[in-house]
Symmetry: C2
Subunit: 490 residues, 2 copies
């Protein structure tokens, strides 16, 4: 059957369910749905369904089941690896209208919310009870909790408070077949019975099920917070300071690293008060009771000094603390001001190797003739190098991709991962072939098949086909890099 | 083939690999291996293999693969749900000799250990660096980290520090086919690539893979700890105090509840200084810096008083703190002194319903004409009612099992789970049919099949066969209780 005919058939079935308001049927309306925050690749779906309740969603799933239509769920579309990019033969389902906060239970410290509720909206609703939802991805003003679950989203405070996985107690939703499922406990009870399907679903990038409702853990708002801003004359010292802080008794509420070029770009943009003479700066936060914060800040200051910090500023009030953070939070847009395009990498390494990675990236800049800004969730060993390039120049695109691939490869060789928090999506399919063996990838496919035997749910994302890995293996080798042991498996 | 013939064949293949020292081949030697800590059921395996290294283990797995022999892995045998009970046609593999601590990295705060290392031995080895391994099951002096991974073990301090799942960064091991696997990161890096198989393996009760090596997170030893012992005149008030404490800004390092009869039995045994006039007592701990402990203890004391505590004792020194805990830690043996036998239940409920459950158990004691002591990880909503009975009286056995089943059923009806931390094993197979729908159980079987298509790894444990659920459904209904919605699914 032709694509146009499949599209006509699908629309004729969906219109009675969704009405015109719940359906984007024309190509002219597809624009906002053609990608997520990873805009390098775009695709047009057959249609976009925007159900307003679970009843409509179930009916849509039933239609897709009958027609064998692939499904790509999406939340706010802020993902950074293309996980929500449409399938050309599929239906995109926006869950953004399922956006009600269903219950807040201050005694149990939980909130039950629909998947389309924005991350920050949960904290806003919980604020009256002195509570908040701890994971704070940069996109928290826009991104939805459903998307957070799909990506196991992190954020600058996840070092102390954990990722989405550690802050979600249960989810409700549907299989691709439209069967209702509940994973974990939607009433917040400890649950050790059966394999941990909740943990499996969190971070599964929309490949296993559609989540419509989430029970999140709320955290008491710390009474106070204070931030140190420490300068270092070289990046290796800053990396060593991170290792030293993390080896101490205190888990900072946040521990971020920015290198000199990144700092300069940011300072020019938001005037956060960063030290422009530093090769790298660390943002180092403590939160809790005033007494605890006092003690922790003193201990961290001592460690920073012992590690050779050339200057340490301490936030004197909340306004100054927020100003310190404003620089970090605007690192990505600041990069956009300096360069027409940038590739935001996401990788993780053992913390002890931060300095080594920074030095490696410095060399790679020479090799690929491209600049790179570095901003790291350093406490987690989670790297976000931003490779600057101009997408109008095909050779720069090629070099940026080669540079990025090489960073990922180094991360894997150091015992790290090709993604720390942004997921695989379509962006990192090649990297998966580097990080995992054939047997491991087969295990991932097998798990996917348990939930979605026909492969209709977000097909082509997150887990590469093995033949693709064979080609990717070739690509890595063609790139001129020494294949490390992982690659030789292919 | 006859069992004796299969046994002969298996032994003839294993002897050259393991030698006499690594093999228990005679029924006379099976005694210690016939059960784990759940001694109600016993079984004899074809043999017990005790490999001394991974090379031997791999060779044993190869033999079992060739002969199609079921495999039951075991650690120290301290499990409480029969997960390590042998299979009559299978080989039990004791991993107790894989007991080396391979590396402690104080800067990264990790320890890499073999699966047979005892839980407490990790903390002992890490003590020199001011670190310890936080999850502390009651059996921690004996139980192994491999068993902890299999059961996702908890402990009294998991309220603040998390379960095994939250303290393990990576595992290495083998599939039932003998293929090497590595899940999570054995170098401690954050890893968001691919489905979270590490989380799936933790708590999988030996059904998915054999874990031989574990990378655990170490935690800085708190500078100090202090404990409050609070008395309440009725159990409902104690339950309400737990909810109030957990609704506050402080997460206690431990929050345990014992009812009056339990307290009396314990006090008679270890003289912990418990208030014998109380209907229930709470143990409520704070740890951290002296300043933080001071502040947290003051806040918790205030909450306890506001909730009607009739007496609050505060540990004046470490000796007294340990004395307070000695009662809680000896609750099980103390019960053994009072009654020839006891059934240790394990269930979870939402914390807000603790008082309701305590009252329900009080009524059930009348109905079943059996006594029950209650000791709860109250902060987690994790219940351990101990049903006292005499196994020499078949009617008491029947009544104890009926009583226990009814507690589990109530827990599920309250939105809780049939197990909070002891696992399903063979003990709770019936309860699984109460907690989960047919579709959910099918999903569990599907996951199991991904790892172990032939069902040779710990068969018959943790996930009930659907036909068994049909029978169990009958049992529940025959028991005369109103079937709740979960049951009607069958």
């Amino acid at each position: 059957m032709e694509r146009a005919e499949r599209q006509r058939q699908l629309l004729s079935r969906l219109r009675p369910i969704l009405g015109e308001a719940g359906l984007v049927a024309r190509a002219a309306g597809f624009g906002p749905y053609e990608s997520d925050g990873f805009t390098a690749y775009r695709e047009r779906p057959l249609a976009v369904a925007i159900p307003e309740d679970e009843k409509q969603l179930r009916a849509v799933l039933q239609v897709c089941k009958e027609l064998g239509t692939p499904i790509v769920p999406r939340g706010a579309g802020t993902g950074l690896s293309g996980g929500a990019m449409p399938h050309p033969e599929g239906l995109s389902i926006s869950l953004a209208r399922l956006n009600r906060i269903l219950a807040i239970d201050p005694a149990a410290r939980t909130a039950r919310v629909q998947c389309g509720v924005r991350n920050l909206a949960i904290s806003e609703a919980a604020a009256a009870h002195g509570l908040y939802y701890a994971p704070d991805p940069s996109s928290q003003i826009a991104c939805t909790i459903g998307g957070n679950v799909a990506e196991n989203a992190g954020g600058v405070h996840c070092l102390k408070y954990g990722l989405t996985l550690h802050n979600v107690l249960g989810v409700r939703g549907y299989t691709v077949e439209g069967e209702p499922i509940e994973l974990g406990s939607m009433r917040g009870a400890l649950d050790a019975a059966g394999p941990d399907l909740l943990a499996l679903a969190i971070g599964s990038e929309g490949l296993l099920c559609l989540v419509t409702e989430v029970l999140v853990r709320l955290t008491p708002k710390p009474e106070t917070a204070r931030c140190l801003l420490a300068s270092f004359a070289d990046v290796a010292q800053a990396g060593a300071a991170v290792a030293a802080l993390m080896a101490g008794a205190i888990t900072p509420a946040g521990l971020e690293l920015m290198d000199g070029p990144m700092t300069a770009a940011v300072e020019d943009f938001v005037h956060a008060g960063y030290d422009l003479s530093a090769a790298a700066i660390l943002l180092c936060e403590a939160d809790g009771t005033p007494e605890a914060v006092e003690a922790e800040i003193a201990a961290m200051r001592q460690t920073l000094q012992a590690c050779g910090a050339t200057r340490i500023d301490e936030s004197r009030d909340e306004a100054e603390r927020l100003r310190f953070w404003s620089g970090r939070k605007n690192a990505f847009p600041a990069s956009g001001r300096v360069s027409p395009d940038y590739l935001c990498m996401d990788a993780s390494i053992p913390r002890a190797r931060l300095a080594e990675m920074l030095n490696a990236i410095a060399s790679l800049q020479q090799r690929w003739h491209l600049r790179c800004f570095n901003v790291f969730h350093a406490g987690d060993g989670n790297l976000h190098p931003l490779i600057l390039f101009d997408a109008k120049d095909p050779d720069q695109i090629r070099r940026a991709e080669g540079f990025g691939a090489e960073i990922l490869e180094r991360a894997v060789a150091m015992g790290g991962s090709i993604t720390g928090e942004h997921g695989v999506g379509i962006e990192k399919l090649g990297g998966m072939c580097v990080q995992f063996s054939r047997a491991e990838l087969e295990a991932f496919h097998a798990i996917k098949s348990c939930w979605d035997a026909d492969g209709r749910l977000n097909p082509g994302k997150a887990i590469p086909q093995l033949h693709r890995c064979a080609e990717a293996g070739q690509l890595w080798v063609r790139g001129g890099r020494l294949p490390h042991p992982e690659i030789e498996r292919f």
